[in-house]
Symmetry: C2
Subunit: 120 residues, 2 copies
């Protein structure tokens, strides 16, 4: 599932919600996820205050994917304070400045592939 | 991972790509996925012709989520011919007309929850 900005449609982050997290989101209108690594409920902004106020929830055709359409409070959805967690392309080039450098390093790929992708 | 429309940013579908699908996407600039249910490579539009021409690939902060930024060929990304697979909200209300009715039925939820979500 993903969270998208209600005003711009920008994809802010990808996460996972189990049934309990999904129902808590619907009941509170603030986004709740389930951390598959820590295996626990995770409410966005619980410590930072950067909650996601949920304005709509969209479901896909086969009912197994969800979009939380949200108002993101604070600077952004990302722990780097970027607006979106998707602030760079597959070559690692930044699409958006970040204020915190602790994102993972990407493998970079061959230039010809990049040129093919980036040259319409 | 998700596919998003390059012109509008609209989220078209959610899917999964293994490493081979991801690399084939980069090499061909057409979106390839991996079907977790059928456990096989799946090239979008291989039979329908409704391919996704990939214009960019975005990676999230921790490197485990991907956005294919695409030009969707044909009527849409969804097997229902909807532009997006996310054509309805969590109450099952249609956000976009579809031409094929074979999407799964959703459980609907309590009205008070809906009212809270839908009334800013």
């Amino acid at each position: 599932m993903v969270a998208a900005d209600t005003a711009t449609g920008q994809i802010l982050m990808q996460g996972y919600a189990d049934r309990a997290a999904y129902l808590e989101t619907l009941a509170t209108a603030e986004a709740v996820y389930f951390s598959t690594s820590r295996k626990k409920r995770w409410k966005k902004g619980e410590t930072s205050g950067h909650v996601q106020v949920v304005r709509d929830v969209l479901i896909d055709c086969d009912g197994d994917a969800i979009i939380y359409v949200v108002e993101q409070r604070g600077p952004g959805a990302c722990h780097t304070n970027a607006r979106s967690c998707f602030y760079r392309d597959f070559l690692g080039q930044r699409q958006e400045p970040v204020t915190d450098g602790d994102s993972e390093r990407l493998e970079t790929l061959d230039t010809p592939v990049a040129e093919r992708l980036l040259t319409p």
